[in-house]
Symmetry: C2
Subunit: 404 residues, 2 copies
């Protein structure tokens, strides 16, 4: 029934406690050994030993005596090193490539953003461009004294962990072995390369560094061409049985609505996706072949909303209502405390969020104690890369010994 696969031995115990100490340092820095002993429940002796190891790993460093005015001998405060350990996040997307290097404190130590339409280009070319960008960023980080320990790549599709492949129909990828290809092309890293769904990483990015901080569990909705969601529960990503959880795009919001490529009718994507909104706002969805930072049509939509265009406003309201129905389902099933709108919907949030909020509170109001709050993503188009880099940081925090 309940399974624990691996046996615990002395080394396991040590690693766990090491992670425990490092985690408390991260949360309470600067902090003395004595206080760490209280926080962790370990003895001073053990804490001192662990701190020794962490210092040698260059994960922790002394932070200069901070006087606290106490009586006895003052403690020696410890902090996470602003040291060499860093993580890299990458993102491939319909209209840009992006990268971001984060140190252990979550400070951005390098970034890149390349507008690029990857929808109509061969997979190989796209990956080459991604690798070139990654190499450049890694090199720049190295010059600034940062060593990238691992890389996480955000892709707009479903990751099949078992097969090691990615399917991302929106950019024409089918069974692409991203992890293997990148691992071969990038400099070797102790933590290696991992691929993850863009919405999932966006959710983590906002959780750790953006609009999701403080909320234990929430739904991050990320809309571009398709609509996906990342589900964070109790600070952990919820992936589902096959890693395909959070595919909110094909939740049915109108059984008598238009039919969808998925085979069903009235999916959210058909109602609140970019194409649907543009169509309803009567904006031509031309993507002029080349690359634009914000696709032209999206920019035009925002312009019209700002100038109070009635048709655009109605289009966004309709999308909001559709989205609300899908979110009601998500809220009832998953019981989150916050909903974060990302991607396209972060841009539309000023006009869209009120409609969603009122629909949500109307529907769930009488049953559940608290209606989840709706927020726009705080990191804009960087949510996913930050989440990706943060995943590497989190990995180090959870298992400090991976840093060689």
């Amino acid at each position: 029934m309940i399974t624990r696969e691996a046996p615990t031995h002395l080394g396991t115990m040590r690693d766990r406690n090491l992670a425990l100490v490092l985690g408390e340092i991260a949360r309470h820095q600067p902090v003395t050994r004595a206080r760490l002993a209280e926080l962790t429940g370990l003895t001073k002796t053990t804490v001192a030993a662990q701190v020794g190891v962490l210092t040698r790993l260059q994960l922790v460093e002394g932070a200069g005596p901070v006087r606290e005015g106490g009586r006895g001998r003052p403690g020696a405060p410890l902090s996470l090193a602003s040291g060499p350990v860093a993580g890299l996040g990458l993102e491939v997307n319909g209209h840009y490539l992006a990268a971001c290097v984060l140190d252990m404190n979550g400070v951005v130590r390098g970034r890149a953003h390349i507008a690029r339409n990857s929808r109509d280009r061969p997979v190989g070319e796209t990956l080459d461009a991604l690798v070139r960008m990654a190499r450049r960023v890694i090199e720049e980080a190295a010059e600034a004294g940062f060593t990238v320990m691992g890389t996480t790549v955000a892709v707009p599709g479903v990751v099949d962990r078992a097969a090691g492949t990615v399917n991302a129909p929106n950019i024409g990828w089918q069974a692409v072995t991203v992890e293997a290809l990148l691992a071969d092309s990038l400099p070797p890293q102790p933590i290696g390369v991992r691929v993850e769904n863009e919405a999932n990483l966006g959710a983590l990015g906002e959780l750790w560094y953006g609009a999701g901080r403080g909320s234990g569990s929430y739904v991050y909705v990320s809309g571009e061409a398709g609509i996906g969601a990342g589900l964070v529960v109790d600070g952990e990503l919820f992936r589902g049985a096959h890693g395909a959880a959070g595919e909110i795009g094909h939740v049915v919001v109108d059984p008598s609505g238009p039919s969808c490529a998925c085979g069903g009718r009235g999916c959210v994507e058909q109602v609140a996706g970019l194409d649907a909104v543009l169509r309803a706002a009567a904006i031509e969805s031309v993507d002029a072949g080349g690359a634009g930072h914000l696709p032209d049509a999206t920019a035009e939509l925002l312009r019209r909303l700002e100038t109070g265009d009635a048709l655009a406003a109605a289009a966004v309201e309709a999308a909001g209502s559709g989205m609300a129905v899908a979110l009601i389902a998500a809220v009832n099933l998953l019981d989150p405390d916050t909903v974060v709108l990302g991607g396209l919907h972060a841009l539309l949030a000023p006009w869209m969020a009120p409609h969603i909020e009122s629909a949500l509170s109307r529907s769930g109001g009488r049953l559940r104690g608290s209606v989840p709050t709706i927020r726009a993503a705080a990191l804009a188009s960087e949510s996913a890369v930050r989440g990706g880099a943060g995943t590497v940081v989190a990995r180090v925090l959870a298992d400090p010994m991976v840093v060689s």
Copy 2:
């Protein structure tokens, strides 16, 4: 970010490995020490020591030499003891009270079922009746040589773990401190008394002993007056941020449908709940004051379905379509591999499941690799009590030292 609260010391390590060994015995019984060493990754020495402890706790016993025809010295097979350790599951419900005692092997060692309409009776009376039943069952189990180590109570409502209270509007309960009240009224038990949502326990019951065996993650839908769901992911219950996950009843399946007590419109409950189906089938929902095992109206509905009544069939088909829309949402968001229909819907499954299945495969077919299979619950009205008792068993398996 990632948190581990408790420090690991030698004792923790030992307890973990103890659980590991016990778990492998449960999964592979009968099994020898040598094979256990392989399975767990521990040494023969350690396994032998752990088995010694488990034997002393009366959780494990030798099972007589089973010849395997191998070459060397034959091993001494070990099995879970059919010994004294047992768990108790209780259920309170609109129309019955139920109890079930399970030994460590999941064998039913005692049960009770009392038809009783608890909707219109004071909370205190209902709890008294529950306690009387529980006491009787515990006593009978004791006479048969079984010691109840803990109790789990299934209630048709939301459990607020923080406040220790239960809200179950369907039976008129509001902020009832069930755990505290029962713990005071029942004989002391090492594992104590726990309350849990009925759908959640039903999900676990089916997972461990019924239709869910073998599937790692699934959605258990339990419908009576309201409709709730229990979500099992990777063999674990998914509770959500406030323990209110799986409230599928108020997922919107028809934005233009009838308005619901929750404040929204077109909730599944309005379309696929008992009342809706009876209304559509033109059956009077009289509940003749007294108590009936199957409420009269439900029995009548089944009779008509069996005789091929067209109106009843249409009613169930409509309910199935509504349910399908809600399940599409659940499947897309949670990515389960199986859907189990419980409660009322287990009875209706023969007529309802085909409609749900076809709608599900139509909708998700082209996107996700596999469409989840639909099954009817195998334990009928016992799902929840078995899950409740199983929770106690699982607790012992996960932490054998709780058995004093």
